[in-house]
């Protein structure tokens, strides 16, 4: 099986409200899979179904080649967006309790905890109570609890919220390390720059329906517009513009550069980039030539507002 998780036509209704409308997803093993969508799109409903917190009305979830069932809980780690811990319980006891719930033996849980506490530099917190810790510190504990049992599938819902940039970076590195060790990660967030940075697959859910799914590069290819950012130094601006506008759609653009060149955004349509380049080199000195690749943010906004 190359897919760790397959969601097949899952429907979930709350009364008259359809939260998930026959959603199908395929999460490849070893990927970092970005689950995107505006607020209220149905992401949390879907994540809860994968975690067996709620049951789908119809459809199926296949985990690691088997129909999802209670024993799979120990192979999944979940860091919910709305998360907290028992305030008056000691950190160590609390982690042991939550780890044992995931099926770890007490000894194994202790061993893993010592490892992770050392790794994140929080050894001294064992006997502290959560109410003595800051929010960011508590988030670190939650992260540890989520990954402690070495799950095959990790589900992070807004994992970076509440972390300062330094700790967010530590957590990001840990996520990448977990992927390297073979875990698959589903990653639900609004922060598109972290999707751009981490994810290799994405799916976009909007109003209970899946709109996009696939490899990030494939999705980007699909959404590319074949436009280029061009910088050119020329004496005859009018002549150049006349030539180009004959063939292509031209707009103004801006980018950082050291020269005082003419900056254009050119939409090629069906033409090949070389055609444009050929035209440009005849007219002056090309200083900048870059395909405008749509960012995840662009794709997100474009798809959702359509």
């Amino acid at each position: 099986m190359n897919n760790i998780l397959e969601v097949e036509k899952v429907v979930k209704q709350y009364g008259d409200y359809v939260a998930l409308n026959a959603i199908s997803l395929t999460v490849p093993r070893g990927s970092i899979y970005g689950l995107l969508g505006p607020n209220g799109a149905g992401k949390t409903s879907l994540i809860r179904i994968i975690n067996q917190i709620t049951m789908p009305d119809s459809g199926a979830v296949i985990f690691d080649g088997e129909k999802l069932q209670p024993k799979h809980v120990q192979y999944i780690g979940y860091l919910p967006e709305e998360r907290g811990l028992y305030k008056s319980m000691k950190v160590g006891e609390q982690c042991l309790y939550l780890a044992q719930m995931k099926g770890l033996s007490k000894e194994e849980a202790k061993k893993q905890l010592v490892y992770w506490f050392e790794r994140l530099g929080i050894e001294g917190w064992w006997n502290k109570k959560i109410q003595e810790l800051s929010k960011g510190m508590a988030q670190k504990i939650q992260f540890v609890v989520c990954v402690l049992h070495k799950p095959k599938l990790l589900i992070f819902d807004e994992p970076f919220s509440g972390f300062d940039p330094v700790n967010a970076n530590i957590i990001k590195d840990e996520i990448l390390e977990l992927q390297k060790q073979g875990s698959t990660i589903i990653f639900s967030t609004h922060r598109m720059e972290s999707v751009e940075e981490l994810c290799d697959h994405i799916a976009l859910i909007h109003k209970s329906n899946k709109l996009i799914e696939g490899k990030l590069t494939d999705v980007k290819k699909e959404y590319r517009t074949n436009s280029f950012e061009v910088g050119i130094l020329t004496d005859n601006v009018e002549g150049l513009l006349y030539d180009i506008t004959q063939k292509f759609t031209v707009g103004q653009t801006n980018f950082k550069s050291l020269n005082d060149e003419l900056k254009l955004e050119i939409q090629l349509g069906a033409a090949a980039p070389n055609e444009l380049l050929h035209l440009l080199t005849q007219r002056g000195q090309v200083t900048h030539f870059l395909e405008k690749i749509p960012s995840v943010n662009d794709i997100f906004i474009k798809t959702v507002s359509e």
């Binding site: 009364g15 809980v73 919910p80 907290g84 008056s88 319980m89 939550l98 719930m101 995931k102």
Partner: protein, 433 residues
């Protein structure tokens, strides 16, 4: 370790380790004894001696009033009534008793008056009436030339002794003791249910507001979590009860041996006093014996069973409510219908069971699961057929299973709902999800 026992263990430890649990367990018996002692002390305090002025026109009655620790009677028959009335306040008399000359001692139509600015107690008035009536009766006897001494000697005293068909003699007033014991246990159950039910509810709300709930139910089923919570908390309650029972039994042993030891000093007393003391002593001893004769084992084991059953039943409601609301203030509207049957149970116990422990109403309500833990416990000291206890327990636990099913549905949906206070209608809708 299975997940359920893991949850039970955590809940139990969380409750028992709580400072308020430790304080409650060891302080409340002390507090209880303290309050009882305080009330006893208050009632033993002598009230201020009240001065009562008597204006007895005939002078026959005034000598019948003997000063007591409470009342001091002053014979002011020689002083004019008008002056007396005016001087009540000035001379700080509690009141002025006016007895006019008796014309017809058989039906005293004359007005005997008690003039006071305070309202006199009923017991004082009836005592005063008795004193005057007795004197009048005596006068009447004498008028009729009856031998008062012979009459006094002829007065018979009857003391009915109560016995069971087994021939065992029982004490009068035992019913009062039985209802007191049954009532105490019934009341205890109500308190336990409310206190521990509330604990379950608070613990559910805590998990919800902490937002740890989503982490937990990604590993366990909501039903397991709810049951673990209910069982763990109940164990803490049972532990608390056992500690109290242990303290209580120790106290009872100490009390009975205290009475045993206390018998020897009576030897130094005069034979008459000793006889009297022995009579007192043997009554006390008999009461203690009767206490031991009560089905203590049945009462205690039934207390534990009914506590667990009633508590399970009610705390499922409490758990569902806790899941439905976001904070304790919102829970009020749902709590009222739960507390009502508990209070009803206590009232039925005190008003019906004491008069007719095996009557229809008492029997029916000791079967209805919402009131049975309280009503049945109040009936048990009076003796209840075992099949009734068995039936009542079966109904109780059967209902519990039904309620738990219903509560777990609300719980399952409720714990993931934030931000709004649900209506009854919405709760009904949740049942169908």
């Amino acid at each position: 370790m299975s997940i359920l026992s893991l949850i039970i263990k955590r809940e139990f430890i969380a409750k028992v380790r709580n400072k308020s649990f430790i304080v409650m367990t060891f302080l409340s018996p002390l507090l209880f004894v303290g309050i009882a002692a305080f009330v006893g002390y208050l009632s033993s305090i002598k009230a201020d001696v009240k001065k009562i002025a008597i204006h007895d026109e005939s002078g026959i009655f005034v000598n019948e009033f003997k000063n007591t620790s409470e009342f001091q009677y002053l014979n002011l028959s020689s002083v004019d009534m008008k002056i007396l009335k005016d001087s009540i306040v000035k001379d700080s008399y509690e009141g002025l008793l006016f007895i006019p000359k008796v014309i017809d001692s058989l039906s005293p139509q004359h007005k005997i008056q008690f003039i006071s600015n305070d309202s006199p107690s009923i017991s004082f008035l009836s005592e005063t009436e008795d004193i005057i009536a007795q004197k009048l009766t005596k006068i009447n006897f004498e008028k009729a030339k009856l031998d008062t001494l012979a009459i006094k000697n002829a007065q018979a005293k009857v003391n009915i002794s109560v016995a069971k068909s087994s021939g065992e003699e029982t004490l009068k007033g035992l019913n009062e003791i039985k209802i007191a014991i049954g009532g105490a246990f019934g009341y205890l159950i109500m308190m336990f249910i409310i206190i521990y039910g509330n604990m379950v509810m608070r613990s559910v709300i805590e998990e919800k507001t902490n937002r740890i709930i989503e982490i937990i139910i990604s590993s366990v089923k909501p039903f397991q979590l709810m049951m673990g919570k209910i069982i763990g908390t109940s164990l803490a309650g049972v532990l608390q009860f056992f500690i109290w029972a242990l303290l209580g039994l120790t106290f009872m042993f100490v009390a009975s041996s205290f009475f045993g030891i206390d018998a020897s000093p009576t030897a130094k007393m005069s034979p008459e006093m000793m006889h009297q003391a022995q009579a007192h002593f043997s009554t006390a001893q008999m009461y203690i014996k009767e206490l031991w004769n009560l089905p203590i084992a049945t009462i205690l084991s039934c207390f534990v069973i009914y506590f667990i059953g009633g508590y399970f039943l009610y705390s499922s409601f409490y758990a569902a409510i806790g899941a439905a609301v976001d904070n304790e203030t919102d829970s009020q509207q749902f709590l009222l219908p739960i507390i009502m049957p508990l209070i009803l149970g206590v009232y039925i116990g005190f008003f019906t069971v004491i008069n007719d422990p095996n009557g229809t109403i008492a029997t029916v309500f000791s079967m209805v699961p919402l009131t049975s833990p309280i009503v049945m416990l109040m009936r048990i000291p009076f003796g209840v057929p075992w099949w009734q206890i068995a039936l009542s327990i079966t109904i109780l636990f059967g209902t519990f299973l039904g309620v738990v099913w219903f509560a777990s549905k609300i719980y399952r949906v409720g714990i993931l709902m934030y931000g709004k206070k649900p209506s009854w209608k919405e709760l009904y809708k949740w049942l169908q999800y």
